[in-house]
């Protein structure tokens, strides 16, 4: 295989470059894409080269994409991620062996493909799950090919290298898991725990989550051959470690107490903070304000709708839309004086005592010196 070196020093398979060309993507566009992915992962830019190499590596781990109780919104958002050609390409690159939405085949043929892939790639494939698993009445509320979602996940889950739960449904149950939860919809992590399945789970909650969070997670795994650092809810730290509130472009208005009172009022048009009309940004962990959606630099809050906390269990779908959020954490730039502020220029008792002792010693010393001088002169 002939390898060519691009100006960034990354080696890209010649064959792959041709493939890109066929799809109308220049090499620089491809490297640009890798850089964006690297930035999402909070990695140094030099990583772009490594990522590019991983994508072009012919030995790509297969991905199996399962759909349970869901709306396919997560798949849709992934397909609509800005440069669809590139994204489709990446999907090609990770060798998507099974996906009900994207498979050309159907019926027994595709079921066969799934089982073949699972068998052939045991312990090596990445399992992406979209949707929750209904547990009520032996899981009869979601069946594919005559098998319940529960049976499918119990069969395939243990054989995967890792599981990515994409979307709030797979992460914690989503909209169908809110009270009274008639189907007993449950997130994949919890199903694994109940059935003692040890496969690591990465949760990417959101309704839908940013497609770049999935791409970055997969690329991270491909590049470093390990899973990204997760928080205690199993979410990658690079995407879910900060509150929406913290990086929100409307945050300065919150810190200055400027709020939209209702939709369309003067403050709303001025772009003021949406807290008063129910923004859940202060209690929702996600990177929406940092990376936005659809690469046109918008996200709900930027177009004037409060964040409704889709990514956060107990907030999205659970709290009324216009109920005010509980502010989870107060971070800079908001500064607050302490309860007891030291007054500038004030002298503490201790400092005064020390000063007194020093002054006293100085006086005593000077008196003693003067005395001595007097004695020597005399």
């Amino acid at each position: 295989m002939i390898k060519s070196k691009d100006k960034n020093g990354s080696q890209i398979d010649k064959h792959y470059t041709e493939q890109l060309k066929e799809r109308g993507i220049s090499r620089s566009d491809f490297i640009k894409f890798c850089s964006v992915a690297v930035a999402t992962m909070s990695m140094p830019l030099s990583f772009a080269a490594k990522v590019a190499k991983s994508i072009t590596d012919p030995a790509r781990p297969p991905v199996i994409w399962l759909h349970f109780q869901e709306c396919t919104g997560c798949t849709e958002t992934l397909l609509r991620a800005t440069h669809p050609t590139v994204d489709n390409l990446v999907l090609d690159m990770i060798s998507l062996d099974y996906s009900e939405t994207l498979c050309a085949a159907a019926g027994h043929q595709v079921e066969d493909a799934l089982h073949k892939s699972v068998k052939a790639n045991k312990g090596k494939f990445i399992l992406v799950v979209e949707g929750s698993v209904p547990l009520a009445e032996d899981g009869i509320y979601c069946k594919i090919g005559g098998k319940s979602a529960l049976d499918i996940i119990k069969e395939i889950g243990p054989q995967a290298a890792a599981t990515v739960s994409i979307g709030s449904c797979a992460s914690w149950g989503g909209v169908q898991s809110t009270y009274p939860n008639p189907t007993q919809a449950t997130g994949i992590g919890d199903v694994y725990k109940m059935n003692n399945i040890k496969t690591p789970v990465i949760n990417l909650p959101g309704c839908p989550p940013s497609p770049y969070n999935l791409l970055s997670t997969v690329l991270y795994y491909l590049t470093l051959k390990k899973l990204p650092k997760l928080d205690k809810l199993g979410r990658p730290k690079f995407a879910y470690s900060t509150l929406v509130h913290e990086n929100c472009e409307r945050r300065p208005h919150f810190d200055a107490g400027r709020f939209a009172e209702k939709y369309g009022d003067e403050n709303h048009r001025q772009g003021h903070c949406l807290y008063k009309i129910g923004c859940k940004g202060p209690e929702t962990y996600a990177n929406c304000p940092s990376i936005n959606f659809c690469d046109v630099n918008t996200w709900p809050v930027s177009v004037g709708h409060p964040c409704f906390g889709c990514a956060e269990q107990g907030v999205g779908f659970a709290k009324p839309l216009h109920e005010q959020a509980d502010v989870k954490l107060v971070t800079p730039p908001a500064g607050f004086p302490n309860i007891n502020e030291e007054k500038p220029g004030g002298v503490t008792i201790g400092a005064a005592a020390v000063a007194g002792v020093v002054a006293g010693a100085a006086i005593t010393a000077s008196v003693a010196t003067a005395k001595k001088i007097g004695e020597t002169e005399a």
Partner: protein, 325 residues
């Protein structure tokens, strides 16, 4: 000077009569809340630290910003409205923050944080009013607002010393200085409005209303089951607007119910009040004690006259003795 035993006791007796008030340390009767007293209930568990109250306070009272050159330079701005660290002659209210350990959870004493809004407490029996020698500070007989008359003020700053909450501030930087303190936006109330801080508070953390009703509301909150949802009134009890929030585990005591004779600014919190800089104060105001002493000592001017008489007598005796010697 020769004073025999008998004479000594005579003078001592006169003195004792004169100062008898000191030994009877019973406060005068407690002052009662005016019938239509208005107040503010500040619920620290609802405060989100947005400082909209500080902004609005500056706006409706026409106060300028506080200069903080260092802070302004670091942000490349000028005229920061929240530059000060405490109440001062340009700041009538201030949101302060209690921090402990990791400061990760709101309304927790350990490893938590909490907000507190400091402003005039509008005492039922205000020490500042008692200490003021020229009635520049008065308590409105109807609303109970502790108000200031700059025309009467002589700038003695006794009110600053008398206030147990360290509220009145003095304009040291002005040629004709005044005392500055929260007057519960009385100019707004006259127009049928409510205090600026309550008007803009998004969560209802600062709530305006009649003190009696605020007290009832506060008791209801304390009784509510922690963790349940509660419809908190926003802005004022009469606004009809509510916001639903989760009830926190309140300290089962309303700060301001009894402190220094009670206040019209009431505080609820989930963090002990001492941690928020709210001191433990006696139920009896210092004003009631000092006024009792003074009013007893000067009752009908009998004691001073007797004391003066005693002293004159003693002086007379000693001069007489001196002249005979």
């Amino acid at each position: 000077m020769n004073i025999d035993r008998k004479q000594f006791f005579k003078v001592l007796a006169a003195g004792t009569v004169a100062t008898s008030g000191v030994s009877t340390l019973f406060a005068r009767e407690r002052k009662l809340l005016p019938k239509n007293a208005v107040g503010i209930l500040y619920d620290a568990t609802l405060c989100i630290g947005c400082k909209s109250c500080e902004v609005e306070c500056k706006k409706v009272n026409g106060m300028s910003g506080v200069f903080d050159t260092k802070l302004e330079q670091s942000h490349n701005v000028s005229g920061i409205w929240d530059g000060g660290n405490d109440l001062d002659s340009k700041t009538l209210n201030k949101i302060k923050m209690y921090r402990n350990g990791t400061s990760s959870t709101k309304d927790k004493e350990t490893n938590g944080y909490a907000f507190i809004k400091r402003a005039c407490m509008h005492c039922i029996d205000p020490n500042c009013v008692s200490a003021c020698p020229v009635t520049a500070l008065t308590k409105d007989p109807i609303t109970g607002i502790v108000q200031y008359d700059k025309g009467a003020c002589i700038g003695c700053r006794y009110c600053q010393v008398a206030c147990p909450f360290n509220i009145p501030k003095f304009e040291f930087d002005k040629a004709l200085p005044e005392i500055v303190k929260c007057e519960m936006c009385k100019h707004q109330l006259d127009k049928g409005g409510i205090p600026g801080c309550c008007d803009v508070c998004p969560t209802g953390a600062s709530l305006f209303g009649p003190v009696e009703k605020l007290m009832k509301e506060a008791r209801r909150r304390i009784k509510a089951q922690p963790g349940t949802k509660y419809r908190y009134p926003v802005s004022s009890l009469e606004s009809g607007e509510t916001q639903t929030h989760t009830v926190q585990k309140y300290i089962s005591y309303i700060y301001g119910e009894k402190e220094t004779g009670g206040t019209q600014y009431l505080i609820l919190s989930a963090v002990p009040y001492e941690k928020l800089g709210l001191l433990k104060l006696p139920e009896k105001s210092a004003a009631s004690t000092s006024e009792k002493i003074q009013h007893t000592a000067y009752k009908g001017m009998i004691a001073p006259v007797v004391l003066l008489g005693g002293l004159l007598y003693a002086a007379h005796r000693s001069t007489k003795q001196d002249s005979t010697e």
